[in-house]
């Protein structure tokens, strides 16, 4: 594929087009993703998540500057939710990163969640392949930490940065709800605002309950003020140190192997869905099936078991063709 060569040469238009093919679920996206796959695995993938307005984009903007100073090429995927009403979206994260717009070593792409089957992760995973194969050394994925997207970011990232800010009141609620579980590095941003020290104590307290075993990797907490640049150097050091630590302890490899398992499960699930939809026309027949159930003429398990049985019989016939 020409497109693959262009992507690997780092041609921006090709990279951008390829991402659209994947987002739009075009038929050629599968082959594209597979052709890129052998050339992936080099990039460090950093997930950035946290409450709306916590300063995620501003932090990424600052980190890009430091990455560029050490000569790394950087890509950013910034995901915002699509409107459930119109399907449209206003994607505003890159507004905070526009100073890098004309730097050829930086590629920023805004994505709408689009309510994909299987969540954002399916498409995002393939988009990551494009950027990895294109030679970006560091890739940031920014998503808000609520809804279904936040769990997926763990599956996709090598290191998750959880961004918190003081004065939200509901931060501790969020921690209780398990959001704290997903962070590898905790950032208390807006440390210039009142309540930052109190939040630090709360985070330390909650973290003392997380992973109480001895051999676990510690979770650094870094206080930053993204708007004036304070703490960003420390944050970058914390990221580098964490990376070294998880690489040495084998946790990085373990994470990446687990990610591949999840990816395979995701592909398998989608394929089975599609196959079923073609062979037994699930979407089309669903109302009729529901009708027979409603009239108590059939039972759910028996009905589905029968459909699967028929499908498997057909499948055997197909194979001889």
């Amino acid at each position: 594929m020409d497109l693959v060569d262009d992507i690997r040469r780092g041609e921006v238009r090709a990279i951008a087009r390829a991402i659209s093919l994947i987002e739009d679920l075009e038929p050629e996206a599968e082959l594209l993703a597979d052709s890129l796959f052998p050339h992936t695995g080099r990039a460090l993938i950093l997930g950035v998540t946290g409450s709306p307005g916590a300063g995620k984009s501003t932090l990424v903007d600052r980190l890009i500057t430091l990455e560029r100073r050490s000569g790394h090429k950087v890509a950013v995927i910034a995901i915002d939710p699509s409107s459930p009403f119109s399907g449209g979206a206003v994607l505003g994260d890159r507004l905070r990163m526009q100073e890098h717009a004309t730097d050829p070593g930086v590629f920023i792409r805004s994505m709408a969640s689009r309510g994909f089957l299987g969540g954002v992760a399916a498409a995002t995973g393939d988009v990551l392949k494009v950027l990895d194969a294109a030679g970006y050394d560091t890739i940031f994925i920014e998503t808000i930490g609520v809804g279904q997207t936040e769990v997926k970011i763990v599956e996709l990232s090598d290191i998750v940065l959880l961004v918190l800010m003081p004065g939200m009141g509901d931060e501790i609620q969020a921690m209780k709800a398990g959001v704290m579980e997903i962070g590898d590095i905790f950032i208390i941003n807006k440390k210039d605002m009142p309540g930052a020290d109190k939040l630090l104590m709360e985070v330390e307290y909650v973290l003392s309950f997380k992973n109480p075993g001895e051999d676990t990797v510690t979770n650094p907490i870094v206080m930053t003020s993204a708007t004036n640049g304070e703490g960003i150097g420390l944050l970058r050091e914390a990221i580098a140190a964490h990376r070294t630590e998880i690489a040495r302890s084998g946790k990085l490899e373990q994470k990446r192997r687990f990610r591949l398992e999840r990816e395979l499960m995701g592909v398998l699930n989608r394929k089975i869905h599609q196959l079923m939809d073609v062979h037994i026309e699930v979407s089309k027949q669903l109302p009729d099936w529901a009708d027979t159930l409603y009239r108590r003429k059939a039972c759910p398990y028996a009905l589905i078991n029968k459909q699967i049985q028929n499908f498997l019989k057909e499948g055997r016939g197909d194979r001889t063709n």
Binding site: R17, L25, G87, G88, L91, T102, S110
Partner: protein, 132 residues
């Protein structure tokens, strides 16, 4: 099940710092089902063009109140061409005197929408390439 979405960059070149109009347009287009990338005020034509390419948009909507449209709008058109992205269509908006429109169109701006434009007119242009 391909599901192509139209993507639109709304950008404000030039020096004026008022982006209420641009933000309003961005939200209106979102409510029409488009994916809108919004980059804020004081964008250079170079930044606008690189953003349009990275975001793989179908349209760039330029909003300007400061009067420099005759230089800035054609500059964006030219830079897109130089970067092999002449298929991305440029639309102008803001306060543009009627008499400037023919020249802008001659220089490759596909449509110019003034303050009185209805949402229907804009959607009509995006969907069918017609309108003003």
């Amino acid at each position: 099940m391909p599901s192509k979405k139209t993507r639109i960059l709304i950008a404000k070149p030039g020096l004026d710092g008022h982006d209420r109009g641009a933000k309003f347009i961005a939200r209106t287009l979102r409510d029409e089902g488009y994916e809108v990338i919004y980059t804020g005020i004081r964008q250079t034509p170079e930044a606008i063009v690189q953003t349009a390419i990275q975001e793989d948009v179908d349209f760039v909507g330029l909003s300007l109140l400061s009067g420099a449209h005759n230089e800035l709008f054609p500059r964006v058109v030219d830079l897109l061409k130089e970067n092999g992205a002449e298929d991305i269509k440029v639309i102008g908006g803001g306060i543009i005197p009627e008499e400037d429109i023919p020249l802008l169109k001659e220089k490759g701006v596909q449509a110019v929408f003034g303050p009185g434009t209805s949402t229907e007119q804009i959607v009509e242009f995006i969907e069918h390439g017609s309108g003003r």
